[in-house]
Symmetry: C2
Subunit: 553 residues, 2 copies
């Protein structure tokens, strides 16, 4: 990589470090009266930025009191709660590393992550104690567990030891904390990737990374103190998509859903109107059930002007249209990954394009991942690393450089091949960029279906199937074929009212206009649900495994 | 100053440098079709971000072709034009320093600035040639002059030599430029302060400084690609208040007024509606004449939702109400200085305060400079440097730390006293911060009127006088008094229709309710205009000088 060149010296305070604690410290003064609202078993818990910062200062002292120090890694197993929010600031504030633990990981992977990170403490919500208990005996570095509960510690039954009560520690702690000034390249927090192959890999985000991403997220979601951000996306996924920082840096109201039940995601829709939500973010796996819930309401919520960032997997056109028609909310198709903090692209319709495109063209445009966020260097390259033209046709691997892109995986020998020699992270995604700058993921490089020497985009095909009115969800994967190398298999979840009434030919007929005949799937299988990874993406590895013999009979 | 502490290492790409060229380079891709519009003698000139970036690349090659190199300082004498905008990116892009030259400085000061900066080239608009010619013989380091003109160079009559044509250089240059990666602490550009005492002092802004300020400005003005920013404030003042970066980083339409006549500022109002302006920034000296122009229009422009940042001196309540009533535009009282890039505070009414304040209280609140922008450390201290409480009463000096605050003046021995030992810049302003976080400047520390051992705020008094319906503008300064040490003198400019019809007693009677009897000015003098500095602030030094004997007779 080229070393930066030093020009003429400046007089600016360039030694002022971007420390994430400054966001809440300063926001507690400038937006002190703004609300943070958290859904708890006892009802809606409400406090202000100033109150939260008071507790965050106590948390700093509490952590020091039990022996946590600069550089320590502290794991957190929690829902989207106000305590989780406090830890987003208090743990990195003292110079420790906020290690976010995905509650949906297998015990083996979870223990691997904690041990790999050499975590000193684990903070765990009382409802998640079984998860911590299941791995406790495998943990090599953990010195204690901090329990999130409103109960007295004596009422908590657990095999974990030693244990502390978060609330007791806070109530005993000094109310003011003198935050250290950290070098901005120090680790703020860590998330581990949950790739479908191999062990989880650690991304350790610097304070600088988180700070700059916060500003970019706020700008791209057009957020201000007049907004209410709803933290739908789990806070253990890619730093909660940066919203616990991006919403606060502009003084937005901040709403947390608390613990939510995977079988009742629709109820997440309820606070949308009551609390005045204007911005949220989540995977289709969250936004879809919410929309289905709204569909059944007699009175649809009016969410005009609201912006719902949607990523992790492609939002279907049906879902985007559904939100627009029923509520007025705009789904902003976005693109990113754990390695990118995550915001890389966001799909907005530019004012100068409004009059140039037909309605259909506008919807078609929304299927793309959007324009690269300013601050990042996004390029597509061919198999030899040569940049491809932005013509909307030339598909290549997407490479990323920028302050909120990871430059390596922590202590992961063999992972160097994920980075180019000149410092770009290889996304593993294949895509195009059109003349207007819109990026479209055509596939995971490894999920492209190679059939008879040609490529079939599994993503395009599943999106098209999801456009069928009777279809709720669909996934397409390539499986081995004796003659054609690979052929597509389509898994389809019909809408409730269409179950048993839709057949393979309906799906293939629907695809026929858009895909070449040789691309159409022979196997269309109707299922109740599609296998997903712990972050809600279609688990193509499992699908390929399960249907590996379907064309081999 | 405390050295930052290094925590656990991160994996982020912290070596990715914040270079300002990336803003336009990336925006030219993501917002390539967005418009930049410049008012020229030949009519409105329109082009896109992509076009502008094309010319900026040519500018980079052109500058190298005449010998400009990394680290060189290049002075610019220009109006708010699209070429000026191009230089905002092209000059720092190649690693040189954009030295902004205030066209209203005296020749002595201007020559001082160019020599102090050791500028290698000067770029000058053909209409400003007399300014460059007046100082040319005093310049010690300048190797050539680049002329901004549509004419052929042979048609330009000037004593300057050697001269180049900006347009010819660009047309001859290669269309693509490979920008160097600069250390982000390298100087991007420089402005010199025009303090009322002493020689101009140089503030050299780093790339990091400009980049982070751009993000903060965009967030605080709630700017996005849906906005149109109008570059009213001169681009040679405090980096054009950061708008040439802040508007572009979010993809806003960018409107430049070109050359404007100080005697016809009202005409600046004309493009407001035609071009769809939603955000602008300027001193009251610009916004006031524009409002007077609007007042005379039969049909008032509808500017609902527009945000007009106003700083340099206090916007009067009359002006703020005038814009609200006649156009719907909100004047956002802001605070900053050359040393602060400039944004430090912006006055916005928080949603949670709307129902708690009466209309009168809301207007009263708008007189304050506003809440500190997130990213900065703002404090008020007493004469011993001890922090004062945020009670809205305790007044002290305002000290600033942050990435876009200067840490020194360039090569200015003796200026060290402007900084505290722990690295804060001393603003020289006295102010209070209230419980809600709003900062109010009570006075320049040196402009406080010390009368009989007590203080009188000159700013409060002039604002109050400007609230009188017959008054257009008013300034108050303290002058020597044989008995009371100092006493206030008020200079008052009546509105056109009230000239000769308003008397001292009207003014003093108007003040009587708000000020103690001993604070009221004996001398109230009606004038046609108030002496101002080159940045449009009241020149208290001149006022004090002119009326020094008024109480000594």
């Amino acid at each position: 990589m080229t070393e930066p060149i030093m020009g003429f010296p400046a007089t600016s305070q360039d030694n002022y470090q971007l420390n994430v604690i400054n966001i809440i410290r300063q926001a507690a003064k400038s937006f002190g009266g703004q609300e943070i609202v958290s859904n708890t078993p006892g009802g809606m818990f409400r406090y202000t930025y100033a109150d939260a910062y008071g507790r965050i200062q106590r948390l700093g002292n509490a952590l020091n009191s039990i022996g946590a120090e600069i550089g320590d890694r502290i794991g957190v197993l929690d829902w989207n709660t106000h305590r989780h929010f406090e830890m987003y600031y208090g743990i990195p504030g003292i110079g420790a590393v906020l290690l976010l633990l995905n509650i949906r990981l297998s015990p083996v992977d979870l223990a691997y992550v904690v041990n790999h990170a050499e975590a000193k403490y684990i903070v765990v919500d009382e409802t998640l104690l079984p998860i911590a208990e299941a791995i406790a005996s495998s943990l090599k570095t953990v010195k204690g567990f901090i329990i999130l509960t409103d109960k007295d510690l004596s009422e908590i039954q657990t095999s974990l030891s030693p244990i502390y009560s978060y609330e007791e520690l806070l109530s005993e702690a000094e109310p003011e904390y003198r935050w250290p000034v950290l070098d901005e390249t120090s680790a703020y927090g860590a998330c581990y990737t949950t790739g479908t192959t191999g062990r989880p890999k650690g991304v350790y985000y610097s304070h600088r990374n988180i700070y700059l991403h916060a500003m970019a997220l706020a700008a791209n979601a057009q957020m201000s103190f007049e907004d209410c951000f709803y933290q739908l996306v789990p806070m253990f996924h890619a730093m909660g998509w940066g919203a616990p920082h991006g919403a606060i840096v502009v003084g937005a109201k901040y709403l947390l859903p608390g613990m939510y039940n995977i079988f009742d995601l629709g109820s997440l829709a309820e606070p949308l109107v009551n609390e005045g939500v204007t911005v949220t973010a989540g995977a289709p796996a969250l936004l879809m059930p919410m929309l289905e819930h709204i569909r059944k309401l007699d009175e649809k919520p009016d969410l005009s002007g609201a912006r719902f960032l949607c990523g992790a997997s492609d939002p279907s056109l049906a879902m985007m249209k559904g939100y627009a028609d029923l509520t007025g909310a705009e789904i902003i198709h976005a693109y990113g990954a754990t390695e990118t903090t995550p915001l890389v692209c966001a799909n907005r319709l530019m004012p100068w394009m409004k009059n140039k495109l037909s309605d259909e063209e506008k919807w078609d445009l929304k299927r793309k991942q959007g324009i690269p966020v300013i601050g990042l260097d996004v390029k597509i390259v061919d198999g030899f690393g040569a940049p491809l033209p932005h013509d909307g046709q030339s598909a290549g691997e997407i490479l990323l450089r920028g302050p909120w892109i990871t430059g390596s995986y922590y202590n992961a020998p063999g992972s160097e091949s994920s980075f180019t020699e000149d410092g770009y992270w290889r996304t593993g995604d294949a895509g195009t960029i059109d003349e207007m700058g819109y990026l479209k993921i055509t596939d995971r490089v490894k999920d492209v279906i190679k059939s008879g020497g040609e490529w079939i985009s599994s993503v395009d095909m599943e999106n098209e199937i999801m456009g069928h009115p009777a279809v709720l969800e669909a996934a397409v994967a390539g499986v081995e074929h004796p003659k054609w190398e690979e052929r597509p298999v389509a898994l389809v979840v019909p809408r409730e009212e269409h179950q048993g009434k839709i057949e393979r030919d309906d799906i293939v007929g629907h695809l026929a206009g858009k895909f070449a005949k040789w691309q159409l799937p022979e196997a269309v299988i109707f299922v109740d649900q599609i296998p997903k990874t712990s972050v809600g993406k279609f688990d193509k590895k499992v699908i390929r495994e399960e249907y590996r013999d379907i064309y081999m009979k």
